[in-house]
């Protein structure tokens, strides 16, 4: 691990048991982070950009099939396989445990996407365009990415920065649950929980110790900072094929 104990380390807990697949998080993320519109054509090209996405799969045989949803976003791994392959340090691991992407360094070798087991990095195949009506809706805190570079979930780093700054101005410690990425904020069933996992009292730290916890593709030893909680029903093996 790269940073000493007392420093914040941002993490997220995803309780798969609560997810109803409403895609609110996807839309919120879309709006917050100036993600180009995913038209039907782009979807068919398999080039849709969704920093967080709801993967749905069916479990069981007809007639008694169940829809399962699992939100997948950048796992902000401790040993992120996508980082070392970048020739220009466009992505690296910062001291708060975030896997950050520096847009203006990226030359678009797309190496990181290759070595990213979760396929949560996205390449701008086209110059992003918004209809005039949406021009003013863009978030001023977030860069608009040009064509030819990679982008990915940042845990809404702009919010983290803003909240910590206000906290510092008011001369107080950051309260747990005070700051949340757009997806967490938008989730109606509080499937997603965000916080500082280095602070044992935080909600995330407690949830992460839940006996249902697992992480995607643990066999790769990437040590993600996104922790999943199993479904609590007889069909728990629904997620078994992911770890």
């Amino acid at each position: 691990m790269v940073q000493e104990k007392k420093q914040q380390k941002w993490a997220m807990v995803v309780d798969v048991d609560r997810c109803i697949g409403c895609q609110a998080c996807v839309v919120a993320c879309q709006a917050e982070n100036n993600i180009p519109l995913n038209t039907e054509e782009i979807f068919n090209q398999k080039r849709a950009i969704e920093w967080i996405r709801i993967e749905r799969y069916w479990e069981g045989e007809y007639p008694n099939v169940k829809a399962r949803f699992i939100p997948v976003l950048c796992q902000h791994c401790e040993n992120a396989p996508c980082e070392p392959v970048c020739p220009v340090y466009a992505t690296y691991h910062n001291s708060e445990g975030l896997n950050v992407q520096v847009y203006n360094r990226c030359v678009g070798t797309r190496f990181c996407q290759n070595n990213d087991p979760y396929a949560v990095r996205f390449f701008n195949f086209w110059e992003p365009v918004w209809p005039a009506t949406l021009q003013n809706q863009l978030n001023p805190d977030v860069t608009v990415r040009s064509r030819g570079i990679m982008e990915k979930c940042t845990f809404c780093v702009q919010r983290i920065r803003r909240t910590t700054r206000t906290a510092k101005e008011q001369g107080r410690e950051l309260k747990d649950g005070e700051l949340a990425p757009a997806c967490v904020q938008a989730c109606p069933t509080s499937t997603l929980t965000f916080g500082d996992i280095n602070d044992p009292k935080s909600k995330v730290a407690k949830l992460a110790k839940d006996k249902r916890h697992y992480r995607l593709l643990e066999k790769l030893g990437t040590e993600p900072n996104v922790i999943y909680l199993k479904k609590v029903d007889a069909h728990a093996k629904a997620t078994s094929e992911t770890h």
Binding site: V2, C82, E83, P84, Y92, H93
Partner: protein
């Protein structure tokens, strides 16, 4: 006294070798005698000394230089901007080894090529006393001898089977 070059052209390499023997008995050594051929011959085919060279030094020097440079670059670039990627050590030795290997080989090869050119006394501006027929399979015996012996060498060469003998223009002073 001024020396001048004289070039005998032999169709048969045996004849050239005979001429060389005759010249040697007349006291000419490898210092003032050269053999020009259109293709490699076994060493000492004309009884000349096998030329010595220090070519093998060059790749070694090159390797050392290349290794040093690569070492500096690899260490410098990693320590100069210490970013953690993939939980790997800031100063990862194995990746450095790859770059250093390539650097070493690169410098070694470049130095070798320089060495080859240098050791074969090239580049040489102007070919001096020379004849195109040499590259067509003739053997040229190039002798650097005193003015007054030119005619003697000329006849000697012709006797031992030279097809043609060329003499360098006298340098005017």
């Amino acid at each position: 006294m001024p020396n001048r070059r004289i070039l005998g052209l032999f169709k048969e390499d045996e004849a050239a070798a005979n001429a060389a023997d005759a010249l040697r008995t007349a006291g000419y050594t490898d210092e003032n005698m050269e053999f020009l051929t259109g293709s490699p011959y076994p060493e000492g085919a004309f009884g000349e000394h096998v030329p010595a060279h220090k070519l093998y030094v060059f790749p070694l020097i090159g390797a050392v230089c290349g290794f040093g440079t690569a070492l500096l670059i690899t260490i410098g670039t990693q320590l100069g901007f210490p970013l953690v990627t993939g939980g790997k050590p800031i100063l990862g030795i194995p990746p450095m080894m790859i770059i250093m290997y390539e650097g070493t080989m690169l410098a070694a090869i470049i130095f070798t090529v320089i060495g080859i050119i240098f050791e074969s006394r090239l580049p040489r501006f102007g070919v001096g006393l020379y004849d195109p027929r040499i590259m067509e399979g003739y053997v040229g015996v190039l002798v650097n001898c005193a003015e007054e012996r030119l005619s003697w060498v000329d006849t000697l060469m012709r006797q031992s089977g030279a097809e043609d003998v060329k003499v360098e223009e006298p340098l005017r002073r």
